[in-house]
């Protein structure tokens, strides 16, 4: 029989106060298989660990049971300890007598016998434990980045610059994302496109980056280091290998539709690039609006194309790739104004969201950067900005702060004033949150130099009166009701995770929080890792954030990917459920219950094969197996039944 050592921890008074340690030690001494018992005040301390090491050698122990706190806390610590004295780490077991015993009981007379039983049960397990070695898994050193906004661009460039291959997938036809839509950026007022487009070009030209725009992740399988992904390349109807981006098709296309890039203020053609600086600068045909697809006639683009790149018969293509890590950088959407009944439900043309105002301010926008209101193109002389619209409103909309609105609204008011010198901007705010390098100074400047009037209070109603938009609100600092007959109103709408994130999270088997943003593994210490190994988060997909924060997070995510790729191989827990070839009849029951696709039928041998890397040891197959051929390592039927017997008898 094996020689098992039992080490009982007092955990200060955490355990010792409710469990009679002396009685436990005395009782365990006589238990069959137990060769040595010792208690100690803090087993996890250095002296505690050293004692364990010494006793393993001096008492010639084959396995040990540590009766202490939950294995989630120190199992790894103790396994590493025993490894240094050449004991197999999987022969070190934890009996949890703190969380499952001393902490939940008050009566020593109840807790002490329970602690004894818990320890005895784990001794039974330890007696039959095998020596196991971790499964080694190779790493595919290629990353997939989902989303081609500034977060995805930064992550892709950073990973590629450390020498690894990157596939960058973007669902629009061009990369650039929301940042490409912005006018100028706070707090330095540098032009957004001017700082973004060089990076976009870098992505396109980088030899390590494979850019796949107008594409979406379709399916994924596998695990960290070894994902298999299937990417759908949506039908462009234009062969980009032939297309040179000359733009002749766009010029000749007779169909105009509202431009999504310009927030529907401007028009684009049915064959289009979203904006002139697009990367890749090649057009796609919008199936829904194309005259040919609607009526069967037109084909003007095909006729004028000098390179015969237009192909109306094209279909979706699928690409399968293997990658080792994934960065999710899917960005944000703006909560639609139509949800705001008190601000006109989107029915008032001169009440717009902040992103639309960015397009109005942008020199490449529909008004060429002149501030003109959507309804009649007049220059607004009085303009009201309302912050926290939909944000910080748990009762009606969303509880969280959208974080960027304080700064961009201040910027909006400032840029407005720079363009309309005799105009008056007002900002209604709940709080001004200007935390960030140079942000507070920027906010001060708006008040002092640009005469932006800040009104602390909420707006109860916005309505149209002739050609004015009347804003009724309150200034809580003076306690007075305020009515402003404005020419235009800009709403700082809440930031939402971009459309489709929920489905993506399901596909990636990772979690989203109550507001729909992807959940990080730890809010402070693991802010760029998702809850699934090998999947990292960057940008607004995780939470609202501004450009500097997004770039920082994307760089961090890239560095996590590089860390992963720097490892020779990954280790996978050896506690998996194998197959006893002599017992297996190949009935396949276990294959249907396995949630990880780890089991397949070997038709030649008429037994089930197990992919040890995919197996997560959930035990579903072991429970389903009628012959007992599927046995989970170190959790065999025999071990479990002995453990139960130890408690019941």
């Amino acid at each position: 029989m094996k020689r098992i050592g039992v080490f009982v921890c007092h955990c200060g008074i955490n355990i010792a106060e409710t469990v009679d340690i002396e009685a436990v030690v005395k009782d365990l001494k006589d238990y069959p298989g137990v060769a040595y018992v010792q208690d100690y005040k803090y087993m996890c301390s250095d002296p505690g660990q050293n004692m364990i090491k010494e006793k393993i050698k001096s008492e010639k122990l084959d396995g040990i049971v540590i009766a202490a706190c939950s294995p989630t806390l120190h199992e790894n610590t103790f396994r590493m300890t025993v490894k240094t004295v050449d004991m197999n780490p999987y022969n070190c077991e934890i009996a949890n007598i703190r969380e499952q015993c001393s902490w939940v009981h008050k009566d020593k007379n109840e807790a002490t016998p329970k602690a004894k039983l818990i320890i005895k049960s784990v001794v039974e397990k330890a007696l039959l434990d095998e020596e196991l070695e971790p499964v080694k898994v190779p790493v595919v050193r290629k990353a997939l980045v989902l989303g081609g906004g500034i977060a995805g661009i930064q992550a892709a460039l950073s990973i590629a610059n450390s020498g690894h291959e990157v596939i960058l997938v973007e669902r629009q036809s061009s990369i650039g994302g929301r940042m490409a839509q912005l006018s100028e950026t706070f707090p330095t007022l540098d032009c957004s496109q001017c700082i973004l487009t060089p990076k976009m070009v870098d992505v396109a030209q980088h030899e390590k980056i494979r850019l796949m725009t107008y594409s979406e992740l379709e399916d994924i399988s596998g695990f960290v280091g070894n994902f298999k992904v299937r990417i759908r390349q949506k039908t462009k109807y234009i062969d980009w290998d032939k297309c040179t981006g000359c733009g002749l098709c766009i010029e000749k296309c007779p169909k105009k539709v509202p431009s999504e890039f310009d927030q529907e203020l401007g028009k684009r053609k049915a064959v289009y690039t979203p904006f002139p600086q697009a990367v890749p600068n090649k057009p796609v045909i919008d199936h829904e609006n194309c005259t040919y697809f609607k009526t069967g006639k037109c084909k003007l683009c095909k006729m004028v194309c000098p390179f015969d790149a237009v192909d109306f018969d094209e279909t979706d293509k699928f690409v399968e790739e293997e990658v080792g890590a994934i960065v999710v950088a899917t960005g944000y959407d703006v909560y639609p104004v139509l949800n705001m009944d008190e601000y006109g439900s989107g029915k008032l043309p001169d009440v717009i969201d902040g992103l639309t105002f960015e397009r109005i301010l942008s020199s490449s926008g529909p008004t060429g950067g002149e501030v003109r209101r959507p309804s009649d193109g007049k220059v607004p002389k009085e303009i009201v900005f309302i912050k926290c619209v939909g944000s910080r409103d748990p009762e009606n909309h969303f509880p969280y702060c959208s974080k960027i609105c304080c700064m961009y609204t201040t910027k909006h008011a400032m840029l407005y004033k720079h363009r309309v010198h005799d105009g008056q901007p007002y900002i209604f705010y709940m709080d001004v949150r200007a935390g960030g390098k140079g942000y507070e100074e920027f906010y001060q400047r708006a008040q002092e130099e640009d005469n932006v009037i800040f009104l602390r209070g909420k707006v109860s109603k916005v309505y149209q009166d002739d050609d004015k938009v009347v804003v009724c609100g309150i200034d809580t600092l003076s306690g007075s009701n305020i009515e402003i007959r404005a020419d235009m109103v800009v709403l700082a709408m809440a930031i939402r995770p971009s459309k489709g994130v929920e489905e993506l999270a399901q596909l990636l088997k990772t979690a989203i929080d109550q507001n729909g943003f992807l959940t990080e593994a730890h809010p402070k210490l693991r802010p760029v890792e998702s809850l699934s190994a090998g999947i990292y988060l960057a940008g607004c997909a995780q939470a609202p954030k501004d450009i500097p924060d997004t770039v920082a997070q994307a760089s961090a995510a890239a560095s996590m990917v590089s860390n992963l790729f720097a490892q020779e191989y990954l280790l996978h827990e050896p506690i998996i459920t194998g197959v006893d070839e002599d017992l297996c009849s190949g009935c396949g029951l276990c294959i249907t219950v396995c949630p990880y696709d780890a089991r397949t039928l070997n038709r030649e041998k008429s037994i089930v094969d197990v992919n040890e890397i995919l197996c997560e040891a959930c035990g579903a197959c072991a429970a389903a197996c009628p012959s007992g051929a599927a046995q989970q390592r170190n959790f065999t039927d025999k071990q479990l039944s002995n453990m139960i017997k130890a408690i019941l008898i």
Binding site: D341, S345, N396, K461, Y463, D465, V470
Partner: protein
């Protein structure tokens, strides 16, 4: 179809024309509204005191009577009554301890009441429940170009837990007006407070609000304003005459209960209206549009 009917004090006095027209319209739509026997005052204002439960007893006694009547759907025509009764239900449903305390006081009632056995309904929702198609069928007079400003007030829309439609952008009255063949006039003050009981001690507040609301309806081209609340009605009808005495440029607009308009369009007996109760006489406009 049968519903229980709770009139409340105004419907038997100042708002007699609301009751008669509403009951006649419902009758035409095939609904029998059975008046509760021996009903109490609704409590008038929903009590904001969370510890003074005495205030809840009046509305809850009425709800108990509704349960006993066998018609658990209770129609409250007056919006103030609707608001008070409906909120009392929400109040006791949300707090079982308070329900128990209240029940201890209800020694005269044999019936135990738990909150979800009775539902309070307003007449707009009831008409929608009957069906706008049915309403269309009942309309016999075709009017052309009759522009209606629907005024909601606050009692049907706030707080949002008992709101019959979006508190900020409701549409239910407009839907009914469209179904009845009239034209809607949207005016931004349709959900604005009329000033309510401030008419008693701060009448200037009401004058100010009434002027704003009426001006806005007139400016947007309305011929008539319709509503459901007897208090709003008083504040917006009576006060208009006062304003005009001070300011002869002020343009008035006749105010009707929405059920009066529907009764006229259904060609029901004109005696139910009692136009003498109106301060701004609606008859000239009604004649002009062929409804009289």
């Amino acid at each position: 179809m049968q519903v229980s009917y709770y009139p409340g004090c105004m419907l038997k006095t100042n708002a007699k024309n609301f009751e008669t027209s509403a009951l006649a319209v419902l009758d035409r739509l095939g609904v029998t509204a059975r008046e509760l026997e021996d009903w109490y005052c609704c409590g008038v204002c929903f009590s904001q005191a969370s510890d003074n439960l005495m205030q809840q007893i009046a509305p809850i006694r009425t709800l108990v009577k509704t349960k006993e009547s066998g018609n658990p759907q209770l129609l409250a025509l007056c919006t103030m009554c609707y608001n008070t009764l409906k909120r009392s239900i929400e109040f006791i449903k949300a707090d079982k301890d308070k329900l128990e305390t209240i029940q201890e006081f209800m020694d005269r009632e044999a019936t135990r009441f738990y909150g979800d056995e009775v539902d309070v309904i307003d007449i707009l929702s009831l008409i929608k429940q009957i069906g706008l198609d049915k309403l269309k069928e009942a309309i016999v007079k075709k009017v052309e170009d009759l522009k209606i400003a629907s005024y909601y007030g606050c009692m049907l829309l706030r707080p949002k837990e008992i709101a019959i439609d979006s508190p900020d952008d409701p549409n239910i009255m407009e839907e009914i007006i469209t179904a009845s063949g009239c034209e809607n006039v949207y005016f931004p003050f349709r959900t604005e407070c009329c000033g309510s009981y401030q008419i008693v001690n701060e009448p200037d507040i009401v004058t100010d609000r009434a002027k704003k609301i009426v001006d806005s309806a007139v400016k947007n081209g309305a011929d008539l304003m319709v509503m459901l609340c007897p208090l709003c009605y008083y504040n917006l009808d009576e006060v208009q005459t006062e304003i005009q005495k001070e300011d002869n440029t002020f343009q008035t607009i006749p105010v009707l209960y929405i059920t009066q308009l529907l009764a006229l369009l259904m060609g029901l007996d004109l005696d139910i209206h009692d136009f003498s109760l109106h301060s701004v006489d609606p008859r000239p406009v009604l004649k002009m549009k062929g409804l009289l």
